[in-house]
């Protein structure tokens, strides 16, 4: 009998939770935003989503097959990256550009650095920024009902008025997944209930950003402008970024204090990019820039061990 027994180190029981279940939860949480995207932008949005997801999974699978690595497409992380990138693209973007962006995200940002868990910045956002730099015009051309329209943030920047209710519901120009605040919040609540994410990063991010915008409005003579604040909060990629991209485990700090510092940095940078930069949007750059700060943030926020708090 003795040779039949398994011997291993403790513990001998394991929780049911798995990586793929976590990834699947995030995908489920993105479904409301995806559905609104398809509803607002039509069938082409659905095609963008399907293509991005399929190409992401295929790229990862083919690379791992060619490199004789363990196939990891079942963990759902590639599908998630594809979906997130699709939700960050304008509906009118030529499909070949979307494909290029997905391949860049999966191959260069994720796989070349060692696959899941090893990438130093969010692959979907890196893919988006790659496209933004390479194809600026196509990436900033937003259409609604077939007509090219400025996004609410762009309108805000040029001083026009915006409809906050429409921004909350999602019936505005923008990328496929970012327009509906309510759909994103439904997904976020699901993730909070499933304990996939905590409030630390998104809450500090959004609050810091809100404070920055209030101060900015006061400083530039607009006074205390709630409408300006609300449109900044509901506009652009802030909600999608704060709830779904800034909370990406791999590229955010593992320490609790670090997550709060990370959120504050994100809020400040997004505010600065949006108000002082050339472009109306700043979420993507803020997040991938802060991704690079993560190792530093973690280094200074190593928690004190239990019973060691009093000493250094």
């Amino acid at each position: 009998m003795s040779e039949m027994l398994n011997v291993s180190s403790n513990p001998h029981v394991r929780d049911k939770g798995t990586t793929s279940r976590i990834m699947l939860d995030v995908i489920i949480a993105l479904l409301p935003a995806s559905a609104v995207g398809v509803g607002v932008f039509g069938i082409r949005a659905l095609i963008q989503i399907i293509v991005c997801v399929a190409v992401a999974v295929a790229t990862e699978g083919i690379y791992e097959y060619l490199m004789h690595k363990k196939l990891t497409i079942k963990d759902c992380s590639a599908a998630l990256t594809g979906l997130l990138l699709a939700l960050n693209l304008p509906v009118s973007l030529p499909i070949w550009m979307s494909v290029l962006g997905v391949v860049f995200a999966i191959l260069v940002v994720k796989q070349f650095f060692g696959g899941l868990g090893q990438n130093f910045m969010n692959p979907a956002l890196a893919g988006r920024c790659f496209l933004l730099i390479s194809f600026g015009t196509a990436m900033t051309k937003f259409t609604l009902d077939g007509v090219t329209t400025a996004t609410p943030l762009a309108k805000l920047k040029s001083g026009e008025s915006v409809d906050i209710l429409k921004m909350f519901l999602g019936n505005t120009a923008g990328t496929i997944g970012e327009t509906s605040v309510v759909a994103i919040l439904i997904g976020a609540i699901y993730l909070l209930i499933r304990k996939v994410i905590s409030l630390r990063i998104p809450a500090t991010y959004i609050i810091t950003f809100a404070i920055y915008i209030i101060l900015y409005a006061l400083g530039t003579g607009k006074g205390f402008d709630l409408e300006f604040l609300a449109s900044h909060l509901c506009g652009g990629g802030l909600m999608l970024g704060a709830w779904f991209m800034a909370t990406d485990y791999v590229t955010s700090p593992i320490t609790k204090k670090g997550q709060i510092i990370f959120g504050i940095c994100l809020g400040l940078l997004t505010g600065i990019f949006r108000t002082c930069g050339n472009s109306a949007e700043g979420v993507s750059y803020a997040i991938i820039f802060c991704n690079l700060l993560v190792p530093l943030i973690e280094k200074v926020t190593i928690p004190k061990a239990f019973g060691r708090e009093a000493k250094s």
Binding site: L5, S9, N10, P11, H12, V13, I22, V250
Partner: protein, 439 residues
């Protein structure tokens, strides 16, 4: 009353319903007995019998060989066959006194000690030492040493650890339910050593019957209080228990006494009672034989040195061939390569699982999710520690407080990538501690 706990921890399936009901059955061994000379932390005991000697139940057969060591007594009557190394539950080999059991259980003459009120503190400690009492929760630290802190006036609390936070184990529960009076008497003995101290019996709230029973019994005891703990693993880990009961924190380089506490397991209190009130040595303990592979899971009162295979038979044998057998609980116990090993003073359980949940899963990449950080009761970063451990980076390991790890297993348990974090950290800790000793 408030429910006490700590930060972190996990909630594994507790499996206690398998053995919660029913009475503890006394089991007397059939075959030969192998009594290990090292059943405690510290120096192995020195044998004082040789092959061919006749021994009786309760006769001292090996003597403590240093300050931190413990006496060992025969649990049966019979003839000493030989002294040879035998395999232990943790996989190591230890010198054992092998005794041919004559099945008569003739007892050595026991001199009943003076009543507790007439004993001096030194006499009480001597009785505990003489009886070979060690911490029976698994660590097996000699109890007389624990009961002799540098300054006994600094001890504010004597805590009985009735948390029993390890899944599947119900031995302490049965002790508390079946003979609560003895537990309280044992605690009173300990309290006579520390006039200033209060006694605390700490029990997880998944054992409401035990809490109720003991509360009822101590309601007229001004120095003893029953405290209800939140059910969470590792609530019974010494540092977590002290924190939950007193709000005081100790780290790896401190002893409970540094926080004014003495912590003893439930079964140890029984051993203290036997030693000081009855004058009996520690030769029996309570043990849970359980798991889905066992026909009749139950608790036994067993004799130290009994072969563990006998207990599987006593519990009705295997329902199904198990993939894994664990000595102790599933979170911190040792996986055994064979059940042909003797029971020691610290053997709390034999857990037989049809399916091994660990070999069924494969490690994948860490996704930095931080669940291990949330689960770690010591407030460490287990995924980082495991990473630097695998790199062999001792310096960084110490910087990240790796030596504070209590090896509770919560990080590996919770990891969604199924990484063996505890294993990596544990072996690195051993290396670091060994290299420190060299210096």
């Amino acid at each position: 009353m408030s429910i006490l706990t700590f930060k972190g921890g996990v909630h594994p399936y507790d499996g206690k319903e398998l053995t919660k009901d029913g009475q503890v059955v006394e089991y007397n061994p059939k075959g030969e007995i192998a009594i290990a000379l090292s059943q405690h932390i510290g120096a192995p005991a020195t044998p004082i019998v040789k092959a061919g000697d006749e021994v009786k139940v309760g006769q001292k057969i090996a003597e403590a060989s240093g300050f931190i060591s413990a006496n060992i007594h025969s649990s049966v009557s019979g003839t000493v066959k030989k002294i040879e190394p035998r395999l232990m539950a943790n996989g190591g080999k230890v010198n054992c006194i092998i005794i041919e059991n004559d099945g008569k259980y003739e007892e050595v003459e026991i001199k009943k000690p003076k009543p507790l009120s007439e004993l001096s503190k030194a006499e009480i400690r001597e009785l505990v030492k003489e009886a070979g009492v060690v911490g029976m929760g698994g660590a097996c630290f000699p109890t007389n040493v624990k009961l002799s802190p540098k300054n006994e006036n600094d001890i504010d609390f004597v805590i009985v650890n009735g948390a029993e936070c390890e899944p599947y184990l119900t031995s302490d529960y049965h002790r508390m339910m079946e003979q609560p009076e003895i537990l309280i008497e044992g605690l009173k003995v300990s309290l006579t050593l520390f006039e200033k101290a209060k006694g605390i019996i700490a029990i997880e709230d998944n054992k409401p019957e035990a809490i109720k029973k003991l509360k009822e019994l101590v309601k007229d005891e001004p120095r003893i209080e029953v405290k209800q703990l939140y059910t969470k693993y590792p609530q019974g880990a010494e540092r977590m228990l002290i924190y939950a009961c007193t709000g005081r924190k100790i780290n790896s380089s401190m002893l409970p006494a540094d926080a004014g506490c003495v912590v003893d397991n439930v079964d140890t209190m029984f051993a203290i009672y036997d030693a000081v009130i009855e004058g009996k040595p520690l030769i029996q303990r309570i043990m849970t034989i359980t798991g889905d592979a066992i026909n009749k899971p139950q608790n036994f009162l067993v004799r130290i040195g009994t072969n563990q295979s006998e207990l599987i038979e006593a519990a009705g044998g295997f329902k199904e061939e198990p993939e894994k057998i664990i000595s102790g609980g599933p979170m911190m116990g040792f996986a055994m390569s064979s059940t042909d090993v003797p029971i020691q003073k610290g053997s709390s359980s034999l857990l037989c699982l049809i399916k091994d949940p660990v070999s069924a899963v494969e490690e994948s990449n860490c996704i930095n999710c931080g669940r291990c950080v949330d689960a770690c009761p010591e407030n460490l970063l287990p995924s980082r520690l495991a990473k630097v451990a695998r790199q062999g980076n001792m310096e960084e390991f110490e910087k990240l407080n790796g030596l504070e790890c209590c090896e509770c297993g919560s990080c590996s348990y919770i990891c969604p990538a199924k990484r063996n974090l505890t294993q990596s950290i544990k072996s690195m800790r051993k290396d670091v501690l060994a290299s420190k000793k060299k210096k």
